[in-house]
């Protein structure tokens, strides 16, 4: 008995709609992705405030300092204590000076853990003042509404 030959031509589905959708998803994630790790630290849980609104414009010469609940200080990839933070701040001052600026032009953004001791935040501000910084911003996150 002779069997009829099957058509071996490849069957292809129409991929156009799927590719459209996948490209739209990629565009969505690309727009929202934030590669900057400077202002993020998983050890910090910011306090909440109903008045939290992003600033109208970026701060001039921002320097982000993280303070966790055990009073450890993080600046970028570096870790220090409140007492030894001046070493790290010295590097930032040198960078500002190389850009013809002074410490007074810098904006210190303090991202402190909600359970950190308030006195430690004050100590941190005092250390920054000793290095010549004058402008500070206490960062908070938006209050979650029910």
């Amino acid at each position: 008995m002779r069997l009829g030959k099957h058509d071996t031509k490849m069957v292809e589905g129409d991929m156009t709609a799927m590719i459209d959708m996948v490209f739209q998803l990629i565009a969505f994630f690309m727009v929202l992705i934030n590669f900057s790790q400077d202002d993020q630290n998983e050890k910090i849980s910011l306090p909440e405030s109903e008045l939290a609104k992003p600033a109208d414009g970026p701060l001039e010469s921002p320097i982000v300092i993280h303070l966790d609940k055990d009073a450890r200080v993080y600046m970028g990839a570096n870790e220090a204590t409140v007492d030894s933070v001046k070493v790290l701040l010295g590097t930032e001052v040198a960078v500002l000076k190389s850009n013809q600026k002074s410490a007074a032009d810098g904006n210190i953004i303090i991202r402190a853990h909600r359970n950190a001791a308030g006195g430690k935040v004050q100590d941190l501000i005092a250390k920054c003042q000793e290095m010549g910084f004058e402008k500070f911003a206490l960062r908070v996150k938006e209050e979650e509404h029910q």
Binding site: I19, I26, F29, G119, Q122
Partner: protein, 162 residues
């Protein structure tokens, strides 16, 4: 002389999309895995003038600030709010805000173009930071719908109590 032109095979004209789809899906997986939903963040500006050895500002302000004393219990929680060392608000930030509104030119509508009164925060050393932010939130302003009405623009810290 007649010339025969060979017609191209229409079946070979389809694009090979397989490798592109592979790459596109890898990109998609990368973005999905690295995506984090971050809540909106904002800043409170704090004025901290340079101080001399005695802890006094080099350029003292002409107007006396509203002194806000925040007391903590042993666990670091807020136990009492004192204004100018004589008026107690307990732990009630709402009453504190109402008081600040009375002290602000323009009342609940804020001081307008002026900065409003200055507030100095004097806190126990071990008071948890979230209560400081609660106090700053109460004195700084309030929300009316999506709009933020500013009451106080100048906030500073007293020297730390150790």
């Amino acid at each position: 002389m007649a010339m025969r032109v060979k017609t191209p095979d229409r079946a070979d004209a389809t694009l090979q999309l397989t490798s592109m789809i592979d790459v596109v899906f890898l990109l998609l997986i990368f973005f999905v895995m690295t995506f984090r939903i971050a809540s909106q963040e904002g800043d409170f500006s704090v004025k901290m003038p340079l101080q001399n050895a005695g802890g006094q500002p080099l350029e003292p302000d002409a107007d006396l600030p509203i002194k806000l004393r925040l007391k903590a219990d042993a666990s670091g929680s807020l136990s009492d709010i004192l204004v100018n060392d004589n008026q107690s608000f307990g732990k009630d930030f709402v009453k504190l805000r109402a008081f600040i509104m009375q002290m602000t030119p323009g009342g609940a509508n804020g001081p307008g173009n002026s900065d409003g009164p200055e507030v100095e925060l004097d806190l126990d050393y071990h008071l948890r930071y979230e209560f400081i932010i609660g106090a700053i939130t109460s004195v700084t302003g309030h929300r009316q719908g999506d709009e933020v009405i500013r009451l106080v623009n100048r906030i500073k810290f007293a020297p730390p109590r150790k």
